[in-house]
């Protein structure tokens, strides 16, 4: 057959093969009209294709397809259908088949015929990586095992939802909503990096969004552990004809260079590009090697805003133009040194954008300044164990580098080896223990080990200022892990306090050797603030007060030396505010008024400056709100109302310039609530209800944008509480009870998550007491008595433990009086 004839035959043949036998004759008659030789060939080939006598070629289809395991049983799971296929494994949707649960899971099995040592090693490696990762945004490993034929498999959480892009498109999500989803992806990748794991195949297809908006990262099939001597690395990290997806691959992957966390930054950039423009960052004319190389290694993608199609719902070009363009293109820099230095920095810049702060991607000076700031203040997040490990690895590296520079090579190398050994022993322990129930104990153990190590290092560090500084940072981070109020911390305020104190002592000793050094002064002030915060969280307000005063003095010295430094001015203002808060807690009203006036004055100066950013407006707005609440407390409702109006003006002015600033929106809501409270005191009920409602809507909006943020949940709870109080005063006890029940439930959840937090306990009692008031209004005396009793019990306990403050003491007095009134 000639090539020309074959081309014609092939075209008709393929179309005919895709039709049912019944349709074929009519189709052929039409397509082959006037071409009898084509018709004859196609008919003969169709016959051969449907009556294969050799079976020879089916071998290839079997090889490539592997047997479908749907319907079979693996372990306790019945496989339902194939839902994905990778280079080595096939993923099935499955259910437990032992009648215990109706849990749906995903089961990944090595494909038959692929089970060579190499592939098995790779598969075990993936399982090991997954066992190591426990994060709300990463699909969880449930168990693993081997089939009867000896093929390994593992069982994972089944993620029910939509791929990231489809989810955004189907909901026509706004830029903000897309960025919030993307931040969840970043949080998962950051967590993996902190565990020294790079994913290497980040793409929208590996990112699912569940119905409640939770993002899940899937498929660590080609991920890699970054420890140089991690087991399984040599043979396990490259298998398969193409290891990654060219659409999201970085130049270093295409060139076959070593990968590191910067590779994931690049791929995240490519994902964000598509998320904001629905166009791919890499667009190939064809899929030849030269073309891919040209596009990925040499072609700078156009700005996302410039390719944004009109069909994209929820996004306009104006949303993306400017900062977001710069952020995306910085992540997509060909040279990895030009990219964000970490996913953490990348996500931080997105937060900067969302809150109206300048972004790092804008220019080098800002980047430099902000990097310093981030380094100084960044609080580690994520599982405690992970942080402990990274901490050790971090100390290992920095210690090592520092000492090399000082030619103490031998000692440094010995230390480096020790640290490495320790880090590895953590890895092993984590690995073996992670599969057992009760992982919190393991975290605590890891922390304990890390602390022992740090303590021994700090004894050695007496003569070494830079090592003492590093240790101080390490203790500070450790304290954050121990006492940070979210799900990942171990809720241990007492230990956090001990760590902060150690950090402070080390920093003070370094400062003593170089008393005028501004950086060291700032570090000490930051430690003082943390110690004070922990003391106050534990209920020791008077103790906290002393540290606040010292922090203020240090910061004043810094500002005196550099009066034009806005950061220093902000820090002094913040110190006044913190001190004022502590004075408030102990009931020193004159002190409160004085510190608040000082803070207000400084914030006015900062916000009046043309360089003022969203945070400056927010700070002024806060200072005004605080001032107003003092006036209100002192009984001057007219002055309070004027001050609240001023705070609303400030918030609105700020929002004009920085419309996305969440904190300013919260400020607006707080101002509205404050005004409503004053109106309530003045018996202007309709005005109060209107302002409470406006504030409540804002709180709901903000809490819905980030369901995992405990702070906005706490504010929403308080907003329910305030509405409940207002309805009680208005005499609508039924509605009041409803609002207060919601507030109580939310506050109970928040308090349960952070049992050491005295304030959270007090808020629960406050809601219970308010429910008592509402019940009393409805003349439900027994119910009222019961609510008061519960509130009283909590408040009394706080007092006995010396963890009460002026607000909870006032509340206690009020509840006691209310109980008496019932009799």
């Amino acid at each position: 057959m000639t090539p020309e004839l074959w081309e014609q035959v092939r075209e008709v043949l393929y179309e005919a093969l895709n039709r049912t036998p019944a349709e074929r004759s009519a189709f052929l008659a039409e397509r082959c009209a006037g071409r009898p030789e084509v018709l004859a060939e196609v008919e003969s080939l169709l016959l051969a294709a449907t009556t294969d006598t050799t079976g020879l070629l089916e071998v290839a289809d079997q090889h490539a397809g592997a047997a479908d395991l749907s319907g079979t049983l693996i372990g306790n799971y019945r496989l339902l259908e194939e839902i994905g296929r990778g280079g080595m494994g096939t993923v099935y949707l499955a259910v437990r088949d032992d009648g215990q649960y109706q849990q749906r899971v995903a089961v990944k099995v090595v494909r038959r015929g692929m089970d060579t040592e190499l592939v098995l090693g790779r598969f075990r490696y993936e399982r090991q990586i997954l066992a190591f990762l426990s994060h709300p945004n990463i699909a969880r490993l449930l168990e693993g095992g081997s089939t009867q034929e000896g093929r390994p498999y593992f069982v994972m959480e089944y993620v029910e939802g939509m791929p990231l892009l489809a989810y955004c498109q189907s909901k026509a999500l706004s830029v903000q909503a897309r960025l919030h989803l993307f931040l969840q992806v970043c949080s998962a990748v950051e967590y993996a990096h902190r565990n020294l794991i790079v994913h290497r195949d980040l793409k929208p297809g590996n990112i699912m969004v569940e119905h409640d908006g939770t993002v899940k990262l899937l498929d660590f099939g080609i991920a890699r552990i970054l420890l140089p001597d991690a087991p399984g690395l040599e043979e396990a990290h490259t298998v398969g004809p193409l290891l990654f997806t060219p659409e999201y691959a970085s130049p270093e992957q295409i060139r076959g260079e070593p990968v590191n966390t910067a590779t994931d930054v690049y791929s995240l950039g490519a994902v964000l590009y598509e998320l904001l423009s629905t166009r791919r960052a890499h667009r190939f004319q064809d899929r030849t090697p030269t073309e891919m190389d040209r596009v990925i290694c040499e072609t700078d993608p156009p700005r996302p805003s410039s390719v944004l199609g009109p069909q994209v719902q929820g996004i306009t070009r104006g949303d993306v133009e400017g900062d977001l363009d710069r952020i995306v293109l910085k992540a997509l820099a060909k040279d990895r040194l030009q990219r964000y230095s970490s996913v953490e920095q990348f996500s931080e810049d997105i937060r900067n954008y969302l809150e109206g702060r300048p972004v790092l991607a804008r220019d080098a000076t800002i980047r430099y300044r902000a990097m310093k700031f981030v380094r100084r203040n960044k609080v580690s997040v994520g599982a405690a164990a992970a942080v402990a490990l990274t901490l050790i690895a971090g100390i290992a590296t920095t210690t090592w580098q520092a000492h090399i520079a000082r030619t103490e090579r031998d000692r440094a190398e010995q230390r480096f080896r020790d640290v490495r050994r320790l880090a590895n022993s953590f890895l092993v322990e984590h690995d073996t223990l992670a599969a057992l129930p009760g992982g919190t104990g393991i975290r605590a153990k890891l922390i304990q080990k890390a602390l022992e190590y740090l303590d021994s290092l700090s004894r050695e560090a007496a003569g070494d200022a830079s090592l003492r500084q590093e240790l101080a940072t390490a203790y500070e981070k450790m304290g954050d892990v121990q006492g940070r109020p979210d799900s990942a911390n171990i809720g241990d305020t007492a230990s956090a306090l001990a760590s902060y104190r150690k950090s402070l002592a080390l920093r003070e000793s370094v400062l003593a050797g170089d008393p005028g050094n501004p950086q060291l002064r700032q570090d000490v002030a930051s430690s003082l603030a943390r110690v004070s915060g922990a003391l106050k969280r534990a209920g020791d307000y008077r103790g906290g007060l002393e540290f606040d005063k010292r922090a203020l003095e240090l910061r004043k010295l810094l500002l005196e030396a550099e009066p034009g430094n806005r950061a220093f001015r902000r820090a002094v203002a913040a110190s006044y505010t913190t001190l004022g808060g502590s004075l408030f807690q102990v009931g020193d009203w004159a002190g409160v008024l004085a510190t608040r006036r000082s803070a207000l004055k400084l914030h006015e100066e900062l916000a009046a400056d043309p360089q003022a950013d969203g945070d400056d407006y927010r700070s002024l707005n806060l200072a005004e709100t605080r001032m107003a609440s003092i006036y209100s407390r002192n009984g001057d409702q007219a002055a309070a109302a004027r001050m609240y109006e001023r705070s609303l003006q400030t918030a609105r002015k700020g929002l004009e310039k920085f419309p996305r600033h969440v904190q300013l929106r919260l400020g607006l809501a707080a101002g509205l609530s404050g005004l409503a409270r004053v109106q309530l005191a003045e018996k202007n009920y309709s005005g109060a209800v209107a302002n409470y409602t406006a504030a409540h809507e804002l709180y709901q909006e903000i809490a819905a944008e980030d369901p995992q943020d405990t702070r906005s949940r706490s504010m929403l709870a308080t907003s329910h509480y305030r509405r409940g109080r207002a309805y009680t005063i208005l005499g609508d006890a039924g509605r009041a009870a409803k609002e207060l029940q919601i507030a109580l439930k939310m506050r109970e959840q928040l308090a349960e998550a952070d049992p050491v937090n005295a304030g959270a306990q007090g808020e629960v009692a406050e809601a219970q007491a308010a429910l008592g008031d509402a019940a009393a209004r409805l003349n439900q005396r027994d119910a009222a008595r019961e609510w008061y009793r519960r509130a009283h019990a909590i408040l009394q306990k706080l007092q006995q433990e010396h963890r009460s403050n002026s607000a909870s003491d006032d509340e206690m007095a009020r509840v006691t009086a209310a109980m008496k009134d019932l009799h």
Binding site: M1, L13, A49, D52, H63, T238, P241, I254
Partner: protein, 188 residues
């Protein structure tokens, strides 16, 4: 032979130097055979080797895991497909030539792959038909080579050849019909 040398040969072949292929073929052949033998020795019961896995391993051994440059990998697969085709077909021809009578020992590779066996004549016929297909359409014959002899999936073949999966599907489906017809004609 160092992995650098193999990589250089792959580059050279990609750049049009046909002689490089002649140097590569024996190297790949030796490695594939060695691997197949070692796999057969360490056989777990009831286990069938698959050519894809074999080629992956040969690649790792010859080119090395640090070279993840995918062009090399694609070319390597093309070479391997040709090697496997040659081994199987030559062996089948040889067995056909000594047909019946004295037993000819199986090569470890074809034993491992379980492709030949009773079907040596069909394999020879397939090889002839494939050569004729190459005269009609060179690319289509390469699709068949990759899919049949190294067991790549449609997607993997598309990636290795730098063409779309739609094209691979079309090439594979129509080539299969044609090859079936040619093989059954020549065998019967």
């Amino acid at each position: 032979m160092s992995s650098d040398a193999v990589t250089r040969l792959l580059h050279s072949w990609r750049d049009g130097n046909k002689a490089a292929l002649d140097e590569l073929l024996p190297l790949v052949y030796t490695e594939l055979r060695r691997l197949a033998e070692s796999q057969m020795r360490h056989e777990r019961g009831g286990h069938t080797l698959q050519s894809t896995a074999l080629v992956h391993e040969a690649y790792m051994k010859l080119v090395g895991q640090e070279d993840a440059q995918w062009q090399n990998r694609a070319h390597f697969f093309a070479v391997a497909a040709r090697v496997i085709r040659r081994i199987l077909v030559d062996h089948a021809r040889a067995r056909g030539a000594v047909k019946r009578g004295q037993a000819m020992p199986k090569l470890s590779l074809d034993e491992a792959l379980e492709v030949a066996g009773e079907k040596e004549w069909e394999l020879v016929a397939l090889d002839d038909a494939l050569s004729r297909l190459a005269e009609m359409d060179e690319q289509q014959s390469r699709v068949v080579e990759l899919r049949f002899f190294t067991g790549l999936s449609v997607e993997e073949t598309a990636e290795a050849m730098g063409i779309s999966t739609a094209t691979v599907k079309r090439d594979w489906a129509t080539a299969k019909a044609w090859l079936m017809r040619e093989v059954s004609r020549s065998v019967s």
